[in-house]
């Protein structure tokens, strides 16, 4: 029986309990080839085309571990502050499933590649560390397709392209106390893994998958309650919703005198509920044992150091550097390090512009505004970082007013052209030349004798009006600073 919404706990009851949450996150490593063979990992190929005897699990074929996969796993482990084991081992996880052609998954069990790490998240303005129990490597299974074929009512189809794709599983400690914390943890995890280019973490393509272990206990209780494992929460939003639903369901059961059964539950996106899938009694016995086809994985200090040296800066390090080196405000640095792409974009703009703070304002302000309006990511920006940098440089050099720059930028965004091209074509170059400005000023003064009188009789506030008239007459191209100076000189 699925839990209906009226079985859920009232807010008052919820307040008596403390949720305890741990997450198991599967991340696809961004390698070019599979973990145990040289088939490509590319997405979207024709079914069963990226396959070979090894990933098809044909009789007699043997796995050979990919160096690239190990290096990405170690990179992830280091970014998550884990201890990398000098020796780890692969183990077979045995179960029957049609899209698992070997009849076992090659994973790691009692000797994972890394353990004992942490991730820092922000909770109500304070930082909190979430422990990482372990990071282990494994191969992915294929995909069963149950719909869309003429005979789908009788048969399922299997696509083994994904089979053998390298994954890491990141298991957290049960350190989270709310769905919000779980959400923050996932966000931080994704950001870190993207920064060090371990994974694209693209959830739509299944590059990041999450299972949540959830239990509740009365506040102040020492022992954990019985946990359930919630599977199939494949977006960040659903993680929050699924966990909240599961917490509420458990509290309602306990409040009505019931007990929680250890089981695996499936999150149903359509109903927003979790539904029992299999109980502990029916849990798989995976019969793990060391994989005899692979030798133990030894990672020397020298190899680990090479991997560490090749690693990109982590978000926190980048944030600190942006503040120290570029004089950015804390908030701006935070925003610009949300993703590796944004940070890289900003740094390119800053370098080309020669004015990092102005560069930050443009990226966070005008660029983000237009991108958001069109639902584009920064990678899809029609204005390249170099071109935005040139635009900012023109402002800094006084060749373009801020007002004109905004106009030029809007045109750059719609055409993808360089600022110089637009300025040239539209004749938008700022007029700073004294002779040219004086000519315009003379006209404006001649046409506004009354205001000139007022100014000369002491009402200097009309200067603003006169500057405005000059700007208007120059179609906004006059350099406002220069106009100001020249006007004052003429009027005295």
């Amino acid at each position: 029986m699925p839990a209906s919404i009226d079985e859920l706990a009232p807010p008052g009851a919820l307040a008596k309990y403390e949720p305890v949450i741990g997450l198991e996150v599967h991340v696809q490593l961004a390698t070019a080839t599979k973990i145990f063979c040289s088939c490509p990992t590319s997405f979207g190929a024709a079914p069963n085309s990226n396959v070979c005897p090894v990933c098809l699990g044909l009789p007699g074929a043997l796995p050979v571990l990919s160096r690239e996969a190990v290096e990405l796993a170690v990179r992830a482990a280091l970014a998550l502050h884990c201890e990398v084991r000098p020796q780890s081992r692969f183990a077979r996880k045995n179960y029957f499933y049609p899209d698992l052609p070997k009849g076992y998954q090659i994973s790691q069990y009692d000797e994972p590649v890394a353990e004992h790490g942490w991730v820092e998240i922000q909770v109500n303005g304070e930082s909190k560390r979430i422990g990482i129990t372990r990071v282990h490597m494994e191969d992915d299974a294929g995909k069963s397709v149950h719909d869309g074929f003429r005979d789908s009512s009788r048969y399922s189809y299997v696509d083994l392209n994904r089979c053998g794709t390298p994954l890491i599983e990141i298991v957290s400690e049960p350190d989270m106390r709310s769905a919000d914390e779980a959400y923050s943890y996932l966000t931080e995890l994704k950001q870190v893994l993207q920064f060090v280019e371990v994974s694209t973490c693209d959830m739509e393509k299944g590059h990041l998958r999450c299972d949540a272990n959830v239990s509740v206990r009365l506040k102040g209780a020492g022992e954990f309650g019985t946990k359930t494992e919630v599977k199939n929460v494949n977006s960040f939003r659903f993680v929050r919703l699924a966990i909240d639903h599961e917490i509420s369901r458990q509290v309602a059961i306990l409040e009505s005198g019931g007990t929680i059964h250890q089981e695996t539950r499936l999150y149903n996106v359509a109903t927003g509920e979790t539904v029992g899938m299999r109980s502990k009694e029916h849990a798989h016995d995976y019969r793990y044992f060391p994989e005899p086809d692979l030798v133990p994985l030894r990672i020397s200090d020298a190899w680990m150091n090479r991997i560490r040296d090749s690693m990109a800066e982590l978000p926190a390090e980048k944030r600190a550097r942006f503040i120290a080196d570029y004089g950015l405000r804390e908030y701006d640095a935070q925003v610009l390090t949300q993703s590796r792409a944004a940070a890289d974009f900003f740094e390119t703009v800053a370098r080309a512009a020669g004015d990092p703070r102005a560069a930050a304002n443009w990226v966070i302000g005008d660029l983000s505004g237009l991108l958001n309006a069109e639902g584009k990511s920064i990678e899809e920006s029609p204005v390249t970082a170099e071109r935005l940098g040139e635009l900012v440089r023109l402002i800094a050099k006084g060749e373009l007013s801020n007002k004109l720059a905004k106009e030029v930028f809007a045109k750059m965004f719609s055409t993808g052209e360089a600022a110089a091209v637009i300025i040239e074509r539209e004749g938008l170059k700022q007029i700073s030349d004294t002779g040219a400005l004086e000519a315009i000023i003379e006209q404006v003064l001649a046409a506004n004798g009354k205001q000139v009188e007022q100014y000369r009789s002491g009402k200097t506030t009309v200067l603003g009006f006169l500057v405005g008239q000059v700007m208007k007459a120059s179609r906004g191209q006059a350099n406002p600073g220069a106009v100001n100076e020249l006007l004052k000189a003429k009027l005295t």
Binding site: G57, G60, L62, P98, G103, D293
Partner: protein, 479 residues
């Protein structure tokens, strides 16, 4: 040309002197195999097209004045658990009765690159599980020496074809004695190389940490030549060793004087008296040739059979999971649900011995039993390996029996699996230690049944092992 007694050297000579061409030899060997096979059922099927194509390539190379390789034109049989591209590979199982692999095992590739001519696929116990070759979905193999008796197993077909003369040499596989025991039962030479010496890529796995590919031949020199052709590091097998491959035939210099030979006392307790006498004759011969004979002890021997049947069944239960009816395996058609399909496919497809081992292996890996069985067996395995490494500080090679008894009658032991398992008692230890070991013929019993002597050396010391074997062979020839 008398194909049933040809040696590799004789073939080389014949080809170079143009006494016969490789194609003529292949044709004659195929004709002979087809005529003689019904007596033993040693081949599951012949591969005339592939054989003739390989032979033509050898003739063409010779015509161009090129060296076609150390196995040029040599008719070879390949155990049907070793995959051959485009050539049905059944593992002697109903489940793979129609399976045609899309790739060649590395050993097969090397064998053909060296000029070998594959005549066909040799019968064996289903998925290499058995000691008598009675567990084949394609019927048992008869011992060519005594047709009412088994050829041994699991590589019974590979041993029988060489003994029968329907191949000059063959490839078998050994997990706990599956090369050495049939070699001894059929009176031929059989080698289990060091674990990692020959790539396992393309050997259908039974127990991965114990599986080896190795050669059968009618004499030590031919076995050494075949071993040299298939040995070496393979990037497709992570457990294959990087050690250089010496010229094994060059080691056959006949000199064993001063070599220290160990006789493990634990191996001479339960022998039949006739087998014991034959081994004793080997020892006496080696002493005459100047060997220093010593008694040694391998104290963990008593635990070997139990240890082996835990490890090998555990690995087998996992390795055989893929034969589920989803892809290439023969699928049971009478199923409505997925779990029915699994159950029916495997229930109908696997023979009794495979089922027994899958169940045993599943049990020993189960939650709550893993530590008591699998983990403990791994510790015992380390002790057995330590016994050997200690022994090899005192002696250069070990001589022991291969089997407690010679070839038994068909059906004699099929009702008692435990009795069958105990027949591997002397071969299992070497497999668990991963050291090279081989069987070399050492005469016959009064009934005319062959007896084999087992020779074991330290890791990667195949050359030394072969030298001792050749000394035994010479001694036997001298009578």
């Amino acid at each position: 040309m008398e194909v049933s007694t040809l040696t590799i050297d004789a073939i080389r000579k014949g080809l170079h002197e143009r006494t016969f061409s490789a194609v003529e030899l292949a044709g004659e060997a195929l004709r002979f195999a087809e005529a003689e096979n019904p007596k033993t059922n040693a081949y599951i099927h012949l591969s005339p097209e592939r054989a003739l194509a390989a032979a033509q390539a050898v003739d063409a190379a010779l015509a161009r004045g090129e060296d076609p390789g150390p196995l040029a034109g040599v008719p070879v049989a390949v155990k049907d658990v070793i995959v051959t591209r485009g050539l049905r590979t059944t593992c002697a199982s109903k489940l793979l009765a129609n399976y045609i692999p899309p790739y060649d095992a590395t050993a097969v590739q090397k064998l053909e690159a060296a000029g070998g001519v594959i005549l066909g696929k040799a019968n064996c116990d289903e998925f290499a599980m058995g000691s008598s070759n009675e567990n084949s979905a394609f019927g048992p193999v008869r011992n060519p020496v005594a047709p009412d008796r088994v050829p041994g197993g699991s590589s019974g077909g590979s041993a029988a074809v060489v003994a029968q003369g329907t191949a000059v040499v063959s490839l078998g596989s050994d997990t706990g004695g599956s090369i050495r025991q049939p070699a001894s039962f059929c009176g031929v030479v059989g080698i289990t190389p060091t674990y990692g010496r020959v790539s396992r890529y393309g050997l259908v796995a039974f127990a991965s940490s114990l599986d080896h590919i190795g050669p059968f031949a009618r004499n030590v020199r031919d076995a050494a030549t075949l071993l040299g052709a298939i040995a070496g590091r393979d990037p497709l097998d992570s457990t294959s060793a990087n050690a250089p491959v010496p010229d094994y035939t060059a080691a056959l210099d006949g000199n064993v004087s001063g070599m220290r030979i160990g006789l493990p006392k634990e191996y001479f307790r339960d022998l039949t008296s006739e087998s014991g006498q034959r081994i004793q004759a080997v020892v006496d011969g080696l002493r005459r040739q100047g060997c220093d004979i010593r008694e040694i002890s391998l104290p963990s021997t008593d635990y070997a059979v139990a240890c082996y049947y835990i490890i090998c069944t555990a690995e087998a239960s996992s390795n055989l999971a893929r034969y589920d009816g989803v892809r290439y395996t023969t699928r049971s058609e009478s199923s409505e649900t997925l779990s029915d399909m699994y159950r029916n496919t495997r229930g109908e497809g696997f023979g009794a011995e495979c089922k027994r081992r899958i169940m045993l292996g599943t049990y020993v890996l189960s939650a709550g039993y893993y530590d008591a069985y699998y983990l403990k067996a791994q510790r015992v395995r380390s002790l057995i390996a330590r016994d050997f490494s200690r022994a090899f500080t005192e002696v250069d090679a070990i001589v022991a029996p291969v089997s407690p008894f010679p070839a038994f009658r068909l059906g004699e032991k099929t009702s008692d699996p435990l009795e069958m398992y105990l027949s591997d008692i002397y071969t299992i230890t070497g497999s668990l230690a991963g050291i090279p070991c081989m069987s070399v013929p050492c005469g016959t019993t009064s009934e005319g049944l062959p007896v084999g002597a087992q020779i074991l050396t330290n890791h990667f010391e195949e050359a030394r092992m072969l030298r001792v074997a050749e000394a035994v062979e010479r001694e036997m020839a001298a009578g």
